[in-house]
């Protein structure tokens, strides 16, 4: 029967070449027997339409051939959870490092908005390349473990189970931090107040901040740029706000634990002084530019470049931390919402 021959040839194309003839011979014997039975029942050969319907019932050649193949996957269920965890962690760290490095490069080379845009557009490619390498590595591990199990020491992701490395039950179920005591909250207010007084003394009495270095700074050819005063004002305002907030908490009896949102907001506000400082073009000036430019000008430029680089890195790290914590907060809120819906 021509249709059956064509069907079997189609199946053959998708079979492993070492076993093609054997499988096709067996399949032919089975299907021909089935065909004979059908024709014996009808008392005549099958029409073309009936034969087509019969083969359609058996299923497409690709499906038939696929069932003869061993189950195939790039990364099997044993390694997949580890693969997924590695992928997520690597994605996070690659993205974080990429952002920091590019922020530093753009800041130090006076990059334009165009260079920022280009850096953003390159990020997906970097992440895809990373994903491809991780997938290839795990696929190679899966292949070796599947095909050469006897030549390898036993690899098992459950080695060392049960493990003491698991988080304690209390921590796992309740990720909340230890509650603050009333004494702790009072101490925070007292020390916050003392710190504020100390901070307010700095402009008039610089030695409380610099110590003996204040005299050295006073006699050096350098002086601090006005941007530091703006930075100082921001720090003072922030500390006043924080102290006020703690006093309100203490008065309301709500000192036990800071709300996670509040913690993230405080961190976000903490970025303001850094941003103000970073907005300055210079941080160190010459006391007498006309006299000292030739001798100390390059040193001042070097110091300014160093400060710019450091501030950029610090800003990038703090921003990344903030994004991470805000993301975690959002994820926890989402999980709680899902749990509440169940």
């Amino acid at each position: 029967m021509e249709l059956l021959d064509r069907y079997l040839e189609s199946v053959r194309k998708y079979l492993p070449w070492q076993r093609q003839d054997d499988i096709i011979a067996e399949l032919r014997a089975n299907l021909e027997s089935q065909l004979e039975d059908k024709e014996a029942e009808l008392g005549r050969p099958l029409t073309k339409e009936e034969a087509e319907a019969w083969l359609k019932e058996i299923g497409p050649p690709t499906k038939m051939a696929a069932r003869y193949q061993p189950q195939q996957y790039l990364i099997g269920p044993t390694f997949f959870p580890v693969y997924w965890m590695v992928m997520r962690l690597t994605f996070f760290w690659v993205a974080a490092i990429y952002v920091v490095v590019n922020a530093v490069v753009i800041a130090t080379t006076n990059g334009t908005w165009n260079s920022v845009l280009q850096a953003c557009l390159r990020l997906p490619l970097v992440l895809m390349t990373t994903a491809a390498w991780i997938t290839l590595t795990f696929a190679a591990i899966e292949f070796i473990v599947t095909h050469y199990p006897s030549k390898l020491p036993t690899i098992s992701v459950s080695d060392g189970w049960p493990s003491t490395a698991m988080p304690a039950l209390e921590d796992a179920l309740s990720p909340k931090k230890k509650q603050r005591t009333r004494a702790h909250a009072i101490a925070e207010v007292i020390f916050g107040f003392l710190f504020l007084i100390w901070l307010l003394l700095v402009p008039q009495h610089p030695y409380v901040l610099w110590g003996p270095g204040a005299a050295f700074l006073h006699s050096s050819p350098f002086r601090l740029a006005p941007i530091w005063f703006q930075f100082y004002c921001c720090i003072v305002v922030l500390n006043v706000l924080q102290l006020g907030w703690r006093c309100v908490e203490l008065a309301r009896g709500a000192w036990r634990q800071a709300h996670p949102v509040q913690q993230v907001v405080m961190k976000a506000i903490g970025l303001i002084p850094l941003g103000v400082l970073l907005s300055g073009q210079v941080w160190v000036l010459l006391r007498n530019p006309a006299l000292d430019q030739a001798q100390y000008g390059p040193t001042a430029d070097g110091i300014n470049q160093g400060i710019r680089l450091s501030l950029t890195v610090v800003c990038a790290i703090v921003s990344a931390q903030l994004i991470w914590e805000a993301g975690r907060l959002g994820l926890n809120a989402y999980r709680r919402r899902i749990a509440a819906m169940r």
Binding site: A25, E26, A29, N30, L31, E32, Q34, G59, M64, Y68
Partner: protein, 109 residues
């Protein structure tokens, strides 16, 4: 196909998969070639697709549970299968497991 139907179909196939192996091993206590095995199972109420049964026979043979030989019958070469020594032992254990599960499910129901 709705999501519920698709879910049911997946679960049904999952439930059937192990049972089919057990049924094939049971039926191959007597020698059969693919088509007669399929007919014998169908006569006892278990209809299996060709694309499921024939590859399954190959897999069970590769695993050493079945033994096979090519032989001519009715002027046609056919591959006959039967339970191997290892297959008989595994089948007995699987059958015990099947009875236990069946009894447990009946108790639960």
């Amino acid at each position: 196909m709705t999501i519920a139907e698709s879910l049911f179909e997946n679960l049904r196939l999952e439930l059937r998969r192990g049972c089919l192996t057990l049924a094939v091993l049971a039926q191959l206590r007597q020698e059969h070639y693919g088509y007669t095995l399929r007919k014998a199972l169908a006569e006892r109420g278990l209809v299996i697709d060709e694309s499921t049964l024939y590859p399954l026979l190959r897999r069970l043979e590769t695993q050493g549970l079945l033994a096979s030989e090519w032989r001519e019958e009715d002027k046609r070469n056919k591959r006959f299968y039967r339970l191997s020594g290892d297959g008989e032992e595994i089948f007995a254990r699987l059958l015990g497991e099947w009875h236990d599960i069946n009894a447990s499910i009946n108790n639960i129901l």
